[in-house]
C-alpha cells in the first residue's frame, strides 16, 4: 500500500506566468492550492527573456519539486503590443460574404492608415451571408472567392459573413476551400465576435494578423519548457479569465488580449476567497479597476478599441486610471506621467529625487509589508514637500473613490480587494465599497489568476423565441460545452457559467439573442 505523504509529494504543481507592461510575474501553486514560490522580474523588450527569468526564479525556489510541475499557464501582452506597435503582424486577405448587401461600408473602413497598411493584403466583398431569419442572401460565390485569393499575397485569410453568429456555414465553407486549395490559415468571424458586422470583422482581421505572433509565443513557451526539462502542458490565458490549449490559442490569438486584467481579477478572487467584489489592481503607471461577479470578471457591454480599431469580442469591464505607485507628484496635482520601472532609482523612498505616489503614501503612513526603512530613507522633508505629498494622497484617494463608485453601480456593500505591486497606496476605507481586503501574495495576483484558470467555450447567436426556444437553447449550451472541451476542459466537469437571453424587436418571427458560456477545470 502506498504511503500517503509520498503520494502528496508526487502531487502535481502548476506554474502561472503573467507578462505585464512593467513586470513579468510567476507563481507555483501546489496541489493544495497554496502559493509555493513566486517571483517578479522586469518585462524585457524581447518579452520572452523576462518570461524565462521569472520561470527560472520560481524553478530555483522549487528545487527538486520542479519535476512535479504538470502545467504552465501563460498570460501575455505579446498580441496587444504587436497591434499597438504594428510589429510582426501577418498580411491578411480580408473577405466579406454579404454582397449585394454591406457594400456601402467596405472592410477596414475607419482603420488607422498605418495599421491597415501593415495588415491588409487586399479586401473583397463577395456574394454570400444570411438574413436575420436565416435565409441566405446569396449562395457563396466560390469563383469570386478564388479570383480574389489568386490576386493577393497573404499569410492568412479573415472571413466575415453577414449574420454568421446565427448562421456560420458560409464561413466554414470558405475555410474548407481556402485550406484545401491555398493551404492558408483562416480566421472565422463567428468564432471570434458577436453581432455587429464591422466590429466583428475588425476583430477577425486582427486575429488573422496575429497568427505569426501566436506561433512565436507558443514556440518560445514550448522551447523554454523543453530547455528546462519540464514535462508540463502549456496553456495560454484569455480575456475572460479562462485558459486555452496552444492549438486553440494558435487559432484565436486575439483572445489573449485582455488576459492581464482578467487574470488579476481571477487571482484576486482566489487569494481573497471572495467571489463578488471590486478589484483594484495598482501597478506602476496605472490602476485597473474591475468587478468580480461569481468569481469571473464582469464583461464590458460596450465595443472595445484595440490599436485604434473598434472590436466587439468580449473583454473584462475595466476602468483604468492614470494613477500608479510611480505616478509623479508635483506642486499642483499628480501625474499622469509616471517614473514607471525607474521607480527603484527615482522615488524618494529609494533615495531618488522624484516625489511619487509611493512617497506620498509612505509619508501618510501607508507602508508595504516589505517596506522597512522606506520612511527613514525619505529623510527630513521641508514643510513645502510635506504639504505637496499630503495633497497628492488626497487627490489620489479621490481618484480611487470616484473610480470605485463608477464601477460599483450603486452597490456599496461589495468588498474591495486590493492587489498589485502598489496596493499599499490605497487607503484603509473607501466610500462606495465594503471592507478593504489585502490578501497575501496580492502583488502576484495576475500570475495566480493564470495558474488557477479554467478552460471555457462560448456561443453567441440568434434563436427562435417560439416553441422551439428551449430546445434551441439546449443545443447552444451543448455547443458551448463542446467548445470548452475543445479548449482543454475536462468533459465530465464542464458547467454552464453564464446564460444571457435578450429578446429582439422588429423581426418577422419572434427571436432571442442568446449568449452561453461554459467552463470547467483542465483535463488531466
Amino acid at each position: 500500500m502506498a504511503d500517503l505523504p509520498e503520494l502528496a509529494e508526487l502531487a502535481e504543481l502548476g506554474i502561472g506566468i503573467d507578462v505585464g507592461g512593467t513586470n513579468t510575474d510567476a507563481v507555483v501553486l501546489g496541489s493544495d492550492g497554496r502559493v509555493m514560490a513566486k517571483a517578479k522580474r522586469p518585462t524585457t523588450p524581447e518579452v520572452t527573456e523576462g518570461l524565462r527569468a521569472a520561470l527560472d526564479a520560481v524553478l530555483a525556489e522549487l528545487g527538486d519539486a520542479r519535476h512535479r510541475v504538470t502545467r504552465v499557464m501563460l498570460g501575455t501582452t505579446h498580441a496587444t503590443n504587436a497591434i499597438l506597435e504594428r510589429r510582426n503582424l501577418g498580411r491578411v486577405a480580408v473577405l466579406r460574404l454579404g454582397a449585394p448587401a454591406t457594400t456601402s461600408v467596405p472592410p477596414l473602413s475607419g482603420w488607422p492608415g498605418d495599421l491597415r497598411k501593415a495588415v491588409s493584403a487586399g479586401e473583397a466583398i463577395v456574394p454570400g451571408g444570411h438574413y436575420v431569419d436565416g435565409r441566405a442572401i446569396r449562395p457563396p460565390d466560390l469563383g469570386a472567392i478564388r479570383r480574389f485569393l489568386d490576386g493577393v499575397e497573404a499569410e492568412a485569410v479573415a472571413v466575415t459573413s453577414v449574420f454568421s453568429p446565427a448562421s456560420g456555414e458560409h464561413e466554414r465553407l470558405v475555410e474548407e476551400l481556402v485550406r484545401a486549395e491555398y493551404g492558408l490559415p483562416v480566421s472565422l468571424s463567428h468564432e471570434i465576435g458577436s453581432l455587429g458586422l464591422l466590429e466583428r470583422e475588425n476583430a477577425t482581421v486582427l486575429n488573422a494578423a496575429l497568427y505569426g505572433v501566436a506561433a512565436h509565443v507558443t514556440g518560445a513557451l514550448v522551447a523554454a519548457l523543453a530547455e528546462r526539462d519540464l514535462r508540463a502542458r502549456p496553456y495560454l490565458a484569455q480575456n475572460d479569465g479562462t485558459l486555452m490549449t496552444l492549438e486553440h490559442a494558435a487559432r484565436l490569438p486575439v483572445s489573449t488580449i485582455g488576459s492581464g486584467p482578467a487574470n488579476s481579477l481571477r487571482g484576486a478572487a482566489y487569494l481573497s476567497g471572495v467571489a463578488d467584489a471590486i478589484v483594484v489592481d495598482v501597478g506602476g503607471t496605472s490602476t485597473d479597476l474591475g468587478v468580480l461577479a461569481g468569481g469571473f470578471p464582469r464583461e464590458s457591454a460596450a465595443a472595445v478599441e484595440i490599436g485604434g480599431v473598434l472590436t466587439n469580442f468580449r473583454m473584462p469591464d475595466i476602468l483604468a486610471i492614470a494613477l500608479g505607485g510611480g505616478t509623479v507628484v508635483r506642486d499642483r496635482g499628480i501625474g499622469p506621467d509616471s517614473v514607471g520601472y525607474r521607480i527603484v532609482q527615482e522615488a524618494l523612498v529609494f533615495g531618488g529625487s522624484t516625489p511619487t505616489i509611493t512617497d506620498a503614501a509612505v509619508a501618510a503612513g501607508r507602508i508595504p509589508a516589505d517596506g522597512e526603512g522606506w520612511r527613514a530613507r525619505m529623510g527630513d522633508m521641508s514643510e513645502g514637500i510635506r504639504d505637496t505629498l499630503e495633497r497628492a494622497v488626497a487627490v489620489a484617494d479621490e481618484m480611487v473613490i470616484d473610480a470605485v463608485d463608477r464601477m460599483a453601480l450603486g452597490k456599496s456593500d461589495r468588498p474591495l480587494v486590493a492587489v498589485g505591486g502598489g496596493a499599499f497606496v490605497l487607503p484603509e476605507r473607501i466610500p462606495g465599497a465594503g471592507r478593504v481586503i489585502r490578501p497575501e501574495h496580492a502583488e502576484v495576483a495576475n500570475a495566480v489568476g493564470a495558474a488557477i484558470a479554467l478552460a471555457s467555450g462560448r456561443v453567441d447567436t440568434i434563436l427562435p423565441a417560439g416553441d422551439s426556444r428551449s430546445e434551441a437553447i439546449e443545443r447552444a449550451k451543448e455547443e458551448a460545452a463542446a467548445r470548452a472541451v475543445a479548449a482543454g476542459a475536462d468533459p465530465s466537469a464542464v458547467e454552464i457559467v453564464d446564460l444571457l437571453e435578450v429578446p429582439l424587436s422588429y423581426l418577422s418571427e419572434p427571436a432571442v439573442r442568446v449568449h452561453v458560456k461554459a467552463a470547467g477545470p483542465l483535463a488531466r
Partner: protein, 359 residues
Amino acid sequence: MSDIPALARGCAVLGTGGGGDVRTGSLAAARAIREYGEVPLVRLADLADDALIVPLSGIGAPTVSHEMIHSEDEPKRIAEEIERLFGRPPSAVMSSEIGGSNGVAPVAWAAQLGLPLLDADGMGRAFPEVQMVSMYVAGLPADLVIMTDVAGNVVTIRPVDGLWSERLARAVCVAAGSSALMADYVITAAQARGAVIEGTVTRALEIGRATEGTSPTGARAADPLRALQDRLGAARLITGKLTDVERRTTGGFVRGTATIEGTGDDRSRTVTLELQNENLVAVEDGRVLAMVPDLITVVDTETAAAIQTEGLRYGQRVTVLAWPCDPLWRTPKGLETAGPRAFGYELDYVPVEELTAHG
C-alpha cells in the same frame, strides 16, 4: 460638406437619445465622398420650384442594421423609380430625420447619386415613426412611399394617409429582412417651402464643431459643455450622475427610465427621464421640466458628447439639456402627431422655455 465627424457629433446631439448610432453612417459617408467626390449643400431657396427632393432614411431594427449594412446600390434604385414615376430625376437628397444615423448617412446617399444635399430635414430631431415628419404635419398628402432592400427589390406604396404609410412601410421592412432604405414623400421644392425644417444640416455641423471645442482659430474651447449649451440655446436641466437605468422592450420599442442625481450646484436634486428610443419627458419631484416634441439630450459633462439611450450606464457624469423644437411641432397637428399624448403620456404640452423660466 466634408466635415463628417462634426456632422456626426451634431446629429448625435439632435438624436435626443435615439435615431441610431452615427458610426456606420459616418464610415459610409466618408467613403462615398472619397469615391464620388464632395457633396454640395444647397438651400431650399436655391432650387427651382419644380425640382424634386427625395427625403431618404434607413428603416429597421438596430440589431439588424449593425449587421446588415446598406448596399451601395439602394439610393440609385430609388432615384430610378422616381424618374419612372415622375418623368424626371430627383434634384436633391434630403435627410428625413437629422437626429442620429439618418442625419449622417444621407451624405453617402447624395454622393452615390451625384446629387446635392438639401440643408433641411423632416424632423429637426429624431422620432421613431414614419408619419412623424414635418411634411405630414404641414398637410402634404402621404401618398407615396418607395422602399428598396439589399437584394434589389423595389416596393412603391400608395398609402391613404401617414398612419398607413407607417404600418405598410413597417411590414415591407420586416419582409425585407428588417432593413431597408425608404423615400417617404417625394416633394417639389415648391411643396417643400414651409413643409420642411430648414438649416438643420448646418445646425448639426455647428453643434458638432461646438462640442469639438474648436474655434475658427483652432484653439480648443475651455468648456465644450458651455459652448454646446450656448449654441443650442438650451436650458440645463441638471448636472449629475446617472444612478439608475431601467429598460424594457415592448411593442418594438425600448422603453425605460433613467435617473440622474445632481452633483455640485445641483446636489440633492433628482431628475428622471422617460425614454422610448428617444428621451421624451424630464421630471423632477413630479414636476415636468421638459417634454416631447421639445428636445432633451443627455451629454457627457466633460466632453459634451451626446449619449444615446442605449449607451446610458450607471455612474456616467452627465448633463441634461433641453431646448425648443421647431415651431411646426407646436401647432395643433404637430402636437397631435408627436406631442406627449402621441407617446402615451397624459400631459398637456407646455413649451420648455416656460417650464424652465422660473426653475
